[in-house]
Point group: C2
Amino acid sequence: MIAKKMKDLVLNGSTIRAMFEEGKKMAEQYGKENVYDFSLGNPNTPPPESVKKAALAILQEEEPLRLHGYMSNAGYEDVRDRLAESLNARHQMQYTRDNLILTVGAAGALNVALKTILEPEDEVVLLAPFFGEYIHYVQNFQGVPVVIPPDIPDFSINFEALEAKLSQKTKALIVNTPNNPTGVIYSEDDIRRLAELLRNKQKEYGHAIYLISDEPYREIVFGGQTVPYLPKFYENTFVGYSYSKSLSLPGERIGYLVIHHEMEDAEETMQAASVANRILGFVNAPSLMQRVIGVCAEEVSDMTVYQENKEILYRELTAMGFEMIEPQGAFYMFPKSPIPDEKAFCQAAKRYRILLVPGSTFACPGYFRLAFCVSKETVLNSLEGFRQLAKEFGLGGQDVPKAGL
Amino acid sequence: MIAKKMKDLVLNGSTIRAMFEEGKKMAEQYGKENVYDFSLGNPNTPPPESVKKAALAILQEEEPLRLHGYMSNAGYEDVRDRLAESLNARHQMQYTRDNLILTVGAAGALNVALKTILEPEDEVVLLAPFFGEYIHYVQNFQGVPVVIPPDIPDFSINFEALEAKLSQKTKALIVNTPNNPTGVIYSEDDIRRLAELLRNKQKEYGHAIYLISDEPYREIVFGGQTVPYLPKFYENTFVGYSYSKSLSLPGERIGYLVIHHEMEDAEETMQAASVANRILGFVNAPSLMQRVIGVCAEEVSDMTVYQENKEILYRELTAMGFEMIEPQGAFYMFPKSPIPDEKAFCQAAKRYRILLVPGSTFACPGYFRLAFCVSKETVLNSLEGFRQLAKEFGLGGQDVPKAGL
């Protein structure tokens, strides 16, 4: 007699996680090298050597009771000082430790922010396509997700639909740039326009509307693009950051929440968010990893493999006739499915041992997501399967010679 | 404009956490050695050497992408196998990996269990005195906490009050033995009686009533006591376990949730709990610590310091005239306040630089909690303050000579 909602979730499952489990099984059956698993955002580039070095040194040198003990729910003060400095230097902000809470990844940070601000029935705006977990995060606090349809084919912000859906009940808007699943970076012009829109609506409705910026992909950017830093454009901004991708540590659950220093009631919000971190059962971010981040705040994993994969896949798949927008960041691409029922297409892809995630998972049916955080070899070996898929579905691509990849 | 509930929480704060912050400030002001901070359950005995050894070896030897990467939301399969074996050997159970989810501490485990089973308005029974965070955990899922008044002076289970408060809406009961804040271990007779009562009520109401056993203190037991293992007595049992105290790793947030193999719908419950672990934002327990636990599952920290502290404090404080039941486990004692307003008493204790937590925090006013997970030196040096406190409040204790402690 589990909760009804949970029963439904078990039945429907997470498509992505189900793929992950299926991928593991297929790997056992066919051999890992013969399965082209593009389903999960599990980094494929190792953490920088400095992470291992820092972890070893900290374990060797620090007093274990302090290292593994409780600290303030917001995290170690010196680590938060360090991160504030780093962010201030990078983005010209004026953060202090009191604008930062170390969290159990960005998922933890987003849940803490939502717990802090949401009253039951408050609306939270999501811009499709988006990471499907946002729906759960909002519902965890009896919020109501309001989905803005995608801006096709650019996948930037659909302002017309957005304006129409903002209401007196709008409490927050979640933005994810570089975007999962499209790889799009929202332009500075769009961010400015969004900030102005929200400011006007705040005045009109007489209450704060929060921007929640989910930033796990900030450091994964192609071709010298820059990612506008949302707090520079809008005061009532939370940032959920994660080291899952930037330092390739997704299993360690380490990230932070920024509470903008110019946010309305910033001090009270910080206190409330610390309480939220505790009462949601996180209590605090894992302590050893907090200290590792304190040392490695300026490091990033080597992202060149993602860039290479992106280039090969974009070039080859578009040549085969797949339509898509070229990813600017993150490690995802989001091509149009050759048939409207993209779930059927993803099913068909499995016959070529290619694992893809249907766009409906991201509130954007008719497309599919391909996570290219895999080895270059996997990418190259998958191409023949994609070629056959394209043929099977009648795509009019040119016949690309295999050589010269 | 944060949520109203969070505003209230910021105003009222967590008494325990406020003490923790105050203790840090007092330590800066008077010197750490002159502050007798009995407020927080932060272990004082270091992790066993094997923890450090295991962490270093794992970091040196394991492939970093695997070590720090995503795994199944329930945790590494081999670690869950290992824990299942260990629990089966210890408690004669028939667990497999599919009865275990690695969690972000026991707080994470309890939240996962409650998310899995609670419908809005479901009642969750709490036996006073109890860890105050349970109220929040239940309310996180729109459950209604139903508080059973304490069984004074024994602090065992108040069956009369419990029977009276069980209802058609009762979905679960949280049990914590050895108990925070009393140090009491519920007897096997009481557990049997509780199991029978719940079984009868399940029949009467026609639905499952879950027992949620919060077990962070299982390994901290004095004088050869044994702690009955609740799943042996009742099928619909979840166990939330934590390595925070047994391995002195509270900051690392590592523990597990047991789903009894004979629980109603055990398989579906396991799947739902894995989903809950993900959508609550935990995603999975921190990966490096999972692997450490896999190696150190049979280890415990040296608990002799707690036993020594308990003995000194129990002997001296009772001699001073404080009334209390002798702790059988955990590292807390819960004496009666010399005045009914125990908050005023705890305030007065601060003048002697003694930090205590008022019993109202545990739904049991008129008592105070003393966490003796501190150094023996702190205990000894605090005694003079306690003696003066006892005098100030007119306790009729004998004058204990200082020598011979």
